[in-house]
């Protein structure tokens, strides 16, 4: 049975590496210049979702675990951050830290239960647990139910950078995004990442070599949860509210769509996927097309025809191969 992670590029020749470096520089430049051409709040939203998708992809693309409950970490962190910043007057950086810590905690709890099952069971278990969290948020007092925590002050970063300026806010979000991606990159290219890879390849062999597979999976799960939380926490500061939308299972589905569209197991794919989904959502809002139908169709078409996603298809395409990107199979 072909693994969901089969489309991961395994090796890159010299050209591919430099092409990738080139893309990276151009991409960075574009991101730095973007607010001069696009609406900043839109870009910030895009970056938050891109980081969320990258974090999700860390789990799916590199350990083969499909979580259907990542909204819990994204939306949960948003609540924690919004609450501490608004009610306790925390500065933004501290609020974000609280959000990440909260998401990490949720990741430990959910991961502890969920990693007991694999494959689609894992997906169903995470879905159920996140639904539980959704009901918790709905009923808990501090989330203010369907109103959400509103009017969260953006405040001053480190006490002196005024985040109410959308330029400042944008570069802060960009900074967080880049740091997040760097963390993910380091994580998957580390000794730990190597063990993750071997577990994905042959789990019982990894056990027989003495690795407590569950702990490694949990490690990856928690790391992914923490980064998803980082994305959610920043989003709460950007939009100045945290609401139920971000903890629904539809949100968990959305991040899967972003990853799938961008390319499972590619480092930058989710950025493209997130860009596409966010743009599409915005566009559909003012069009005649009903959003869910289009999203659903995109999902189906993607699974049937472009399983590798935008970046994956590019790597596997004629040009990609010419440039030296190599695929398994």
């Amino acid at each position: 049975m072909a693994d969901i992670t089969e489309t991961i590029p395994t090796e890159k020749s010299g050209i591919a590496a430099s092409v990738q470096a080139g893309f990276l520089i151009v991409g960075l430049l574009l991101l730095v210049l973007a607010p001069f051409f696009f609406y900043p709040i839109f870009l910030m939203k895009l970056l938050c979702f891109a980081l969320f998708a990258c974090a999700f992809n860390l789990l799916l693309g590199y350990t083969g675990l499909l979580s259907f409950g990542h909204a819990t970490f994204f939306g949960g962190a948003a609540y924690f951050t919004a609450y501490t910043v608004k009610e306790w007057g925390f500065p933004p950086e501290l609020g974000i830290l609280v959000g990440v810590a909260g998401a990490t905690f949720l990741g430990v709890v959910m991961g502890f239960v969920a990693i007991r099952r694999q494959g689609i069971y894992f997906a169903m278990v995470t879905l159920s647990l996140s639904q539980m969290f959704y009901f918790f948020c709905l009923q808990a007092k501090f989330t203010e139910g369907e109103d959400g925590i509103q009017s969260v002050p953006r405040g001053h970063l480190f006490g002196f950078i005024d985040l109410n300026s959308s330029t400042n806010m944008y570069y802060f979000v960009l900074g967080v995004f880049i740091i997040g991606v760097l963390i993910i990159w380091r994580f998957i290219n580390s000794p730990f990442g190597m063990i993750l890879k071997s577990i994905r390849e042959n789990e019982s062999r990894a056990i027989s070599l003495g690795y407590s597979v569950a702990r490694y999976k949990l490690g990856a799960f928690v790391m992914s949860a923490a980064l998803a939380g980082l994305a959610g926490a920043v989003k709460a500061i950007v939009f100045q509210f945290a609401t139920l939308t971000d903890v629904t299972w539809q949100m968990s589905g959305e991040v899967i769509l972003m990853t799938l569209l961008g390319g499972i197991g590619t480092l930058i794919g989710p950025l493209f996927g997130a860009g596409l989904v966010v743009t599409l959502e915005n566009y559909l809002a003012t069009s005649e097309f009903p959003v869910t139908i289009i999203t659903g169709i995109v999902f189906m078409v993607c699974v049937l025809l472009f399983r590798r996603g935008i970046i994956g298809e590019f790597y596997a395409s004629w040009i990609g191969r010419k440039l030296g990107f190599v695929y398994r199979r």
């Binding site: 049975m1 494959g119 139908i293 659903g296 189906m300």
Partner: protein, 295 residues
């Protein structure tokens, strides 16, 4: 009046019965999921949408063709089953060689599309569907007033569950199905047309879901949302039961329906999460589920 935990026994009996009725829907849906998963290795996220479709087909048949409940009980499953067959032939078939997660994602997209379409066309507040006159009214059981229709639901779901179980455990067709679950290629090499079998299986699963939908129409609002509300719970049911056995899926469905019903009496705030809590506990104690075999 005798009391248990401060609740009159009479009320408790009533609640047990009601739990059983809810369990009927869980059992029917998890049964379909288990059959489809067993053979196709696809977690059918669209199962809730098919259930909704069953109810809607019944509604549409009534609204546009004047076809009532009884014919719909047969027609709607057939129509939805056919639709399932088409989906299997055209799309799902292409995903069998891939990681099962793709099947999950595809059917997720399918669920969104179906649900979105009906929401677009019919709004979300739901459509009316009356109880068939022959089953209207209720019976006073002494401890509660039982609408006759609800009794009918329990009976029908039991018949379908047991019938399906017999079909799969006791017939030649069932033997093919079980064998194909283990080794599709070999069964095919023996001269069995497995592709057709796969199509039939998905169609059967879809038809059972649609049947549940028609059963539900007179009780719940016929709404595009009725499927997505129930499917996540049914997933949890399936995890608790473990998808190893058909019987397991059925029994777990009824049991959890009852567990949920009782929670509504003792601690109603938790009734929507009680199944998830049970799921978490079962996973911690018996990761393979109550009736599951370890992979």
């Amino acid at each position: 009046m005798t009391m248990i935990f401060g609740i009159p026994v009479q009320a408790l009996l009533g609640q047990l019965l009601i739990g059983l009725i809810n369990g009927s829907f869980y059992a029917l849906l998890s049964l379909g999921l288990a059959i489809i998963f067993g053979l196709l290795r696809v977690i059918n996220f669209a199962h809730g949408a098919l259930y909704m479709l069953g109810a809607f087909v019944a509604y549409l048949l009534l609204a546009y063709a004047g076809i009532g409940y009884w014919p719909s009980l047969i027609l709607a499953p057939i129509i939805v089953g056919l639709l399932g067959a088409v989906v299997e032939r055209l799309f799902l078939r292409r995903l069998y060689d891939l990681d099962p997660l793709y099947g999950l994602l595809f059917t997720f997209g399918m669920a969104l599309t179906i649900e979105g379409t009906f929401r677009y066309l019919y709004g979300s507040s739901g459509q009316p569907y009356a109880t068939p006159p022959a089953l209207a009214g209720g019976a006073n059981l002494g401890f509660m007033f039982l609408p006759i229709y609800r009794g009918w639901v329990v009976v029908m779901s039991l018949i379908i569950c047991v019938g399906t179980w017999l079909l799969i455990e006791k017939t030649k067709l069932g033997a093919y199905l079980r064998a194909a679950t283990e080794n599709t290629i070999l069964v095919q090499a023996f001269g069995v047309n497995v592709p057709v079998l796969l199509t039939l299986t998905y169609a059967l699963g879809a038809a059972i879901a649609a049947f549940a939908g028609v059963l539900a129409a007179p009780i719940y609002q016929v709404s595009p949302l009725m499927g997505s509300n129930i499917i996540i719970v049914v997933f949890a049911v399936v995890v608790v039961g473990g998808m190893g056995s058909i019987m397991g899926a059925i029994i777990t469905g009824y049991l959890l329906g009852i567990a949920e019903g009782l929670t509504k009496v003792f601690y109603p705030e938790a009734s929507n999460i009680v199944i998830f809590v049970i799921m978490a506990i079962v996973l911690l104690i018996r990761p393979a589920g109550l009736f599951g075999r370890d992979a």
